[in-house]
Amino acid sequence: MSVDQFEHHLKFFSSSRTDCIARMMDIFLCLKQPSRMVDSKRMRMTSNFQWILLTFLLLYLMNQVSSQKKRTPHDLKCVTNNLQVWDCSWRAPSGAGRGAAYEVCIENGSHSCYRLEKNTKIPALSPGDHEVTINFGSSISKFTLNEKDVSFIPDTPEILNLSADFSTSTLHLKWNDKGSVFPRHSNVIWEIKILRKKNMEIVKIMTHNTTLNGKDTVHHWSWTSDMPLECATHYVGIRCHIDDPKFSGHKEWSNWSLLKNISWSSDSQTKVFPQDKVILVGSDITVCCVTQEKVVLALIGSTNCPLIHLDGENVAIKIHNISASESSGTNVVFSVEDNMFGTVIFAGYPPDIPQKLNCETYDLKEIVCTWNPGRPTSLVGPRNTSYTLFESFSGKCVRYKRAEVPTNESYQLFFQMLSNQEIYNFTLNARNPLGQSESTLLVNVTEKVHPHTPTSVKVKDINSTAVTLSWHLPGNFAKIKLLCQIEINKTNSVHELRNITMKGVENSSYLIAVDKLNPYTIYTFRIRCSTKPFWKWSKWSNEKQYLTTEAIPSKGPDTWREWSSDGKNLIIYWKPLSINEANGKILSYNVSCSSDEETQSLSEILDPQHKAEIQLDKNDYIISVVAKNSVGSSPPSKIASMEIPNDQFRPGVRYNFFLYGCRNQGYQLLRSIIGYVEELAPTVAPNFTVEDTSADSILVRWEDIPVEELRGFLRGYLFYFEKGERDTSKMRGLESGRSDIKVKNITDISQKTLRIVDLQGKTSYHLVLRAYTDGGMGPEKSMFVVTKENSVGLIIAILIPVAVAVIVGVVTSILCYRKREWIKETFYPDIPNPENCKALQFQKSVCEGSSALKTLEMNRCTPNNVEVLETRSMVPKTEDTEIISAVAERPEDSSDVEPENHVVVSYCPPVIEEEIANPGADEAGGASQVIYIDIQSMYQPQAKPEEEPENDPVGGAGYKPQMHLPVTSTVEDLAAEDDLDKTAGYRPQANVNTWNLVSPDSPRSTDSSSEIVSFGSPCSINSRQFLIPPKDEESPKSSGGGWSFTNFFQNKPND
């Protein structure tokens, strides 16, 4: 072996030695260095050997020291398990046999010595260092002992009992803490470990804290397994750690107790655990199959699951975050080769807080509480939520019985009311296998009354305008007030609601009177009720129809009368009473006529007949008609008549009639009427002036026509205007159909001005104004007006040419200035160029055209202008003057006259000049129509002597219609006629209303409905004669034809 090899070995050796040896090695290595240098010299070899000897010497010395130590007791250690006694032990000296005796002395204030064998139990020493001397034969060992060096190791705990609740997979552990051995109170930490399967996999280690109280105490501890306990054997062990605050030594865990186990003793049948478990949605669950066959497949629903193998063939699966089950639950199936096993898991929710809990009563006998279950629990059948309604004041409760078919609609429970209790404090508790919830409600039931629907509604008569209404409302409302609503329906009428407050009764029967009804009317009643204070209306009761009894007719029928055609008999008509007035079925009428001398009564006239005929002299009579129904007679309706002879009245004159009633205090004006026997056309035209003219408009103002000259009610004005000058031939009649004549019909008779717009500037216009009544058109008044010039146009017309001329001038000047040289050359050359001289060209162009031969061309003399003098053909002036008067006298209907029938009017009036109507027209209007005809006939031959008068129908139609009605009243009168038709031809002559109610100035204002206002006898029938040919279309429409007397009282509309 070479030196190097040796060194290597030593080096290897040194790495596992103590420090002492290491130091030796260092020395050795120092020595080895020179040996390398003088490798061949023997002297060096000798030196190396010495070093090895030294090493061995050192090793020997160390061993000697060590063996000296082993000859005395050493390594003193003390432990305690109860803090009262220390259990000390030490290593025996080498050579000391079993049973060797030691003397142990402890310096603990006093010197105490014990003679002991190897171990000794000494009482716990006070804190601080204590000298311990152990004598063993001749050798003495001294130790210093302190509490800090003592270890506290509690006794190993013992499990008293381990039991299992398989249904809940819970383990129950029981042990004793043996606290009596410990002097002081101290905290204990228990550590419990759970192991599973035969190979004891640790499932869980948990701690449990208790306190030692100086007594032996049995502790309980439970643990719920995530895996059913049937699936595998479960083992439990326990150890403890006592934390004594005053002990300063090492506190250590006790040893683990003996393990106890729980296993399920199965018969050999295959079983799946857990069965029918109800769990919360979203939780995890382990399902196992305890079997002796090999499980090939596990399914949750239709999902395959990985198997967790347990002991033997047992398997488990773990389901994470389970979703809500359908009603029959979630199936878990384990398939073995030729069979299937399974279980059902019901995953759902704990009950929601009952929502919208509401308690009310229908009858103050029973309280109905309703609520909504809230979120569905997904649990049905026996797992469904059960509800308990608890009332805290009375301590009573009711349970909700599970409905066969669960619904999410509201649930309800009935709670019997207790006498003398009004305020109820309800708690509704909802509970299912996963938990419970509740909601509370404090309610005063007298304020929460929702009455049932009123039933048995009955009606009885009191009189013709009042009935009693009775109904039944189940419940005992004696302590509260009811508020009921009665709906009263009358056919074709808006329904009426009446609120009634009444005191509640015990026997459920209610009765009230309903008044202010109409007699003999079908009513429909229905009722609903609530309570005070208001909570809810009941439903409406069924409708009850009832006919009120009859009463006497409230008034007599509207009556009027007429003389028979032979004038001997008076025919009395009356209008059947309306239902409201008849108050029943009218059976008959009594008619009587009384004059100063006698009273004549007719026999009873049965209902369908509404007319009677009496033979009477033409005196003043009072006729009365009474309607009778089964109850009695109406007040008589009386009409009085007086006849005024017709020959006292003239047409075209306004009459004021004043009718006075004779009363106790004297006479009283009942009514005044203004009217005409017959309306005629106005005799004068309205005076009108031009107020203002502008370039395109004219403002015209006119004055009223006096009443005497109006001869009827003014209906409006007609305003014509056309372009034309006084002296042109265009001045013709104002016939209709001429497009250049514009007509404005002013029906608002209060209007006194008119602005004509859109006219041309500086143009002459012919304006004509006339008034009309229902009697016809009045005469015309015409005027010529020239509109003003349009000044802006004129300015523009001047400015534009001037501006153009200036621009042309300026441009020309500039051009001329610029081209002045050229101009000068062209027009004013200084020296004529001989070459340009045409006179000298002829030699060159001999053979050119003959025209070139001309040296000078003379223009022919032509005249600049031809003036032709013409003479104008003018209409003879003599005709004009004649025609002026003709125009003034033209009839008002001249618009119908054909244009060619007229002579051209051509005269030159002043710019503004009034045409004064022919005074003859006044006379004609003021007199009779015969005169009017005469005027027309006189005019016609004058204008067109060769024409026959029949060619101008209007001109020939001198007779004016007397039955004209107002132009504006066509619709009204048509309606009136309709009404007349409805009333079967009766025309009331004495309308009581109009006698009393209508103001004298507006006789027609109340007549919008039906009857034509007229009274008096139809004696003016004689004057009705249609003497005129058919009216032209311009004439105001006639209506109310057959009665000429209506014209007599033609009334002013809008007066």
């Binding site: 069965q275 029918d276 009603s327 979630t330 096993f341 399974g342 279980t343 059902v344």
Partner: protein
């Protein structure tokens, strides 16, 4: 629904066959029972489908079948042809009667089970009730045939005595499946048996 009502009306006619005024001939009774069996056969697949659908997966999975599941309290309908062929009239009818007696009681049990598991499925509950009524009808018809043929009528016995009432939900689901399946098998067998009787006792 109207179909079910019609069947119910038919059943009310069939249930008290003995109480009718004019006694029916054996052939008429056989025909009546045969027609009832045919109508039961028609409704069979609907009932099974409705039942399985209500039990959730895997029962409701298409093509679900678990022939391995058996119920000891129900007599099996399977029989070898040779044995079946060799049965005499009394034995043949009494086996059918025994089976339908057991089925009637089991269908009642299944109906109760489903009222807990599927209270919100009125269609299923109604079909189970109808099936039970039909089974009772068949029972009455077979008894009437036996009486008409002069065969001894064995006493009805309680076949359900051994049914465990504390069955788990899964067991109940399986039990219902077996009962309805066996109800179908026995209906098929009754049709064959009655067809045999029809041929044997022509009207």
């Amino acid at each position: 629904m109207s179909c079910q009502l019609a069947i119910l009306c038919l059943l009310t006619l069939l249930l008290p066959p003995l109480s009718r005024g004019a006694p029916m001939s054996p052939a008429e009774r056989i025909t009546q029972a045969y027609n009832l069996a045919l109508s039961m056969q028609e409704n069979m697949s609907t009932l099974l489908q409705t039942y399985l659908q209500a039990q959730g997966s895997p029962f409701s999975d298409p093509g679900f079948s678990a022939p391995e599941l058996q119920l000891s309290s129900l007599p099996p309908a399977d029989i070898s042809f040779k044995t079946w062929n060799a049965l005499d009239d009394g034995e043949r009818l009494s086996r059918v009667q025994g089976a339908f007696l057991a089925l009637t009681q089991h269908l009642q049990l299944v109906g109760d089970d489903q009222r807990d598991l599927n209270p919100d499925n009125p269609i299923l509950l109604a079909q189970l009730r109808d099936a039970r009524l039909r089974a009772q009808g068949m029972l009455g018809n077979v008894a009437a045939i036996m009486t008409a043929l002069g065969l001894p009528n064995p006493r009805a016995e309680d076949t359900l005595g051994l049914v465990p009432f504390g069955a788990s939900a899964f067991e109940r689901k399986c039990r219902g499946y077996i009962v309805i399946r066996e109800y179908g098998h026995w209906t098929d067998r009754a049709v064959r048996d009655l067809a045999l009787f029809k041929a044997k006792y022509p009207s």
